[in-house]
């Protein structure tokens, strides 16, 4: 961060009203309004959450490998920290459920969204459109702090009496209300308050991003010259903006149910444990599901679109040719955004749905798979005729394609209601969505980290460690998630604290697979070690980059000094061409930056 000092100097004598004093540590790193610092804050925080979410899952997997026996490796630790819930190192069913709920919540809302949207969106979007910062820098800071405290609250809920939320990341009512009924500030309550904070953070972020993209595009940066990554962020912003508020409303309603004992989601006549629940009744459990999935489905595209954006950038750069069908990709991403709001009830086929409604929702579900196919196809075809460099970011990006392909394709039998009768809530679903979020999104994000690391720090990450990380992760991910399809086909249900032993004989293959999946998850954990080492070592001792544009990229993010100073560009850049002018016939180099004068 060499240039940081010089900017600081510049602003010390600066004329801007906002920067008339030397920023101290707090101003510079904690309450910064610079989109790049905020991006890095988001990035580091969400990586820690990601790791934590993974560790929760590792405990669960280790339990599943040996149901009823002490958890290997972490058993003692769990007992020390959590006491009763992990007596003798064995996870109680409640503890398993809370870990599951928190794994889902943390991975989705505290890991991937902040990393994909908060970190990459913040760091890269303004650079790619040639803007000095986000449109509302102080709002940006506020979103990060809301996110941070929302996360802290969620983590804190592990230590309240009764433990943290234990009703799944979907938090279905009435279970979410009934589970700890009568305990005023239970884990579920904290979960809900945490969610309201996280949602508010995302809403502010979304307003900021969309405004930035609409208003702060530099001269010549017309809509069809935007890098695909920016398009993906733009649509993601709208998904967050319009899909999150209903969940916020639902969260408030469930909070009322939990704290004030209203009955928004509680029907008349609940008898829990043989006792009539002392509430008025008159509510509807399905209302919660509608409001949740109205967010829930757009949310999964929030998880995938930024990753697709990153993958598109990395593929264009490393095939050294333009993206094939850029326009069709843009239109597809817009249709995905639009359609994703009207497919939500495909998560609810089995809640008692007539033929008409379920036909509507499965039709829209099939429609939304078409633009996904188009984007994937365009990315696949972009490979043809390229001159492909297999560096670490490219390896992750290129393996994103078949991994997302598997995840997406297995979405189809879930999307048809008739086949979902059998597959619903089985491990097939777990396999489906982990293929899209883990080797899909997470790989896309890894690609992004390796790709933009040189811009952020002025140094490269180690290539050998990167390759080890990639290959072990690729193998690990597939060994973890592919067997889940078989478990699902065998009818094994998800969220089983005992790994399904109650339903299957212990010698059943579905159960045997639990062991091998767990071992593969351990492999996956080992695979992350080189990455963590690499990330921290490279900040100080990575190979220095030669110039500001080490990858020979065309987009504006590489036209800034490295790392970019406050305000990003020395002079306002002007854009003359599309985002991916690689290997233009007759050009001297194999790339023409967007801001090169014709």
């Amino acid at each position: 961060m060499s240039t940081a000092t010089s900017t600081q100097h510049a602003s010390a004598h600066g004329h801007e009203a906002e920067h008339h004093h030397e920023p101290g540590f707090w101003q510079k790193y904690v309450f910064s309004t610079d989109h790049k610092v905020i991006g890095i804050q988001y990035g580091l925080t969400s990586l820690v959450f990601l790791l934590f979410g993974f560790l929760l899952m590792l405990c669960m997997r280790l339990q599943l490998a040996n149901p009823g026996k002490p958890v290997a490796i972490f058993g003692n630790l769990l007992e020390t920290i959590l006491g009763e819930g992990a007596k003798g190192g064995i996870m109680s069913a409640d503890l398993y459920n809370s870990f599951g709920a928190m794994h889902g919540t943390i991975m989705v809302f505290l890991g991937v969204v902040p990393l994909a949207f908060g970190a990459f969106g913040n760091y890269v979007t303004p650079l790619q459109i040639g803007a000095p910062d986000m449109a509302f820098p102080r709002l940006n800071m506020a979103s990060y702090h809301l996110f941070f405290w929302g996360g802290v609250l969620m983590l804190g809920s592990f230590f309240v009496p009764g433990g943290t939320a234990k009703s799944g990341w979907t938090s279905y009512s009435p279970l979410a209300t009934v589970a700890e009924f009568g305990r005023p500030f239970n884990g579920q309550t904290l979960w809900l308050i945490g969610m309201v904070l996280l949602i508010s953070s995302s809403l502010l972020g979304a307003v900021n991003f969309i405004t930035t993209i609409i208003q702060l595009r530099t001269k010549g940066m017309s809509w069809m010259r935007l890098p695909f990554f920016v398009w993906a962020q733009f649509v993601t912003g709208f998904l967050l903006l319009l899909a999150f508020p209903p969940l916020e409303a639902a969260g408030i309603l469930q909070l009322m149910d939990n704290l004030l004992h209203t009955s928004f989601f509680l029907p008349t006549g609940l008898v829990v444990g043989g006792e009539t629940l002392p509430v008025s009744g008159g509510g509807s459990p399905l209302l919660w599901q509608h409001l949740f999935w109205f967010l829930g489905h757009p949310e999964v595209y929030v998880l995938i679109l930024p990753a697709m954006g990153i993958v598109a950038e990395v593929i264009a750069n490393n095939t050294r040719k333009p993206l094939w069908g850029y326009k069709s990709m843009v239109y597809s991403v817009m249709s995905i955004g639009f359609l994703s709001f009207i497919v939500w009830a495909h998560h609810m086929y089995l809640t008692g749905m007539g033929t008409k409604v379920s036909t509507f929702f499965q039709t829209t579900t099939m429609m939304i798979s078409i633009p996904s196919v188009i984007i994937l196809t365009a990315l696949f075809i972009s490979l043809w005729g390229g001159s492909i460099r297999f560096n670490t970011p490219m390896l992750f990006a290129v393996s994103f394609l078949p991994m997302f392909g598997i995840g997406g394709l297995t979405g189809l039998p879930l999307g048809f209601n008739a086949s979902d009768i059998f597959l619903h809530d089985s491990y097939y679903v777990i396999g489906h969505f982990h293929y899209v979020v883990a080797p899909g999104t997470i790989f896309g994000l890894f690609a992004g980290i390796y790709y933009w690391f040189p811009k952020m720090t002025g140094r490269r990450m180690n290539e050998v460690l990167g390759q080890i990380h990639f290959w072990l992760s690729l193998v690990g991910m597939n060994l973890v998630f592919a067997p889940m399809f078989i478990q699902g086909i065998r009818g094994m249900s998800r969220r089983m604290a005992d790994g399904g032993t109650t339903y299957f004989g212990a010698d059943d293959i579905a159960i045997h697979l639990n062991k091998s999946i767990t071992h593969s998850a351990l492999l996956l954990a080992v695979a992350q070690i080189p990455f963590i080492i690499n990330l921290f070592l490279s900040i100080k001792s990575g190979r220095k980059v030669e110039g500001d544009n080490p990858w020979g990229a065309t987009t504006l993010d590489w036209a800034t000094p490295t790392p970019p100073p406050h305000g990003n560009f020395a002079t306002e850049p002007v854009v003359y061409r599309g985002p991916y002018e690689y290997s233009v016939p007759g050009a001297p180099a194999d790339f023409i930056p967007q801001d090169r004068k014709p």
Partner: protein, 283 residues
Amino acid sequence: MEIPYTDKARPDTGLYNAKVGIWLFLASEIMLFGALFSSYILLRVQAPLGDWPAMRLGWPHGLLNIPIGTFNTAVLITSSVTVVMAWASLKMGKLAAFRRYMVVTLVCAFGFLGVKSYEYNEKFTHYELRLKSGEVYTGHLAVNGKHPGFWSLSDIWNLDRLNKEKVATVEFVADPKKESHGAKHAEASHEHVTLKPKVADIAHLDAFIPRNHPFFAIYFTITALHGLHVLGGALVMGYFAFPGSRMWKTKPEQFTNRIEVVGLFWHFVDLVWIFLFPVVYLL
């Protein structure tokens, strides 16, 4: 580089940043209140047929105080026109007029909140009483001869609490029975009856608070959320009317824009009320 278009409009969109931002924010607010209104409709549609309180979970009609609600609607509409007048004053360069209009707006805002809290209190001190014999009353409760005071939440009673505190009988001033279905409280003509039910004979007793009925639940939730918006808007406007108006000297355009943006938010709050009022008071 400075962030562009904080005061001037961007040529191709014709908008300055904050204008885009506030409209996006309002779009998300539309979805927020949209979800709450949808919840209201769903809860209401699936409520059993028949009017509360005769039918335990039927949907109540005409339970809220319509004259007061109408008055509050007028207050909010007034504040909406004064805020736009404040902005127009700035456009004409009249800071003093701007400030006068803002003060009126603030008075309206806090007036609205004051009236609302009076209405809340009216509900918190109003009770539904069901006797085991099947008779149903609404009215006011006195325990140990004590009527609950204004806004003292600890005075809220229910059956559990009566039993826990070993109260044997309570005093209940029952409202006059309603006229036929869906009609208003017929006031002066009928007298209030005072009952002295034994706690042992009570099947259900609860104030008109959220947990008592889905109608109260959704009514309090939406109006409270709306009230928070009013409060938030009022605080921001208070800031701009006084300390924040310093900006007028240095950046008049940006200041005018900010007032426009605050105004947009305020009109939205008004808009929500325009629907909320008929939906919860009249229908």
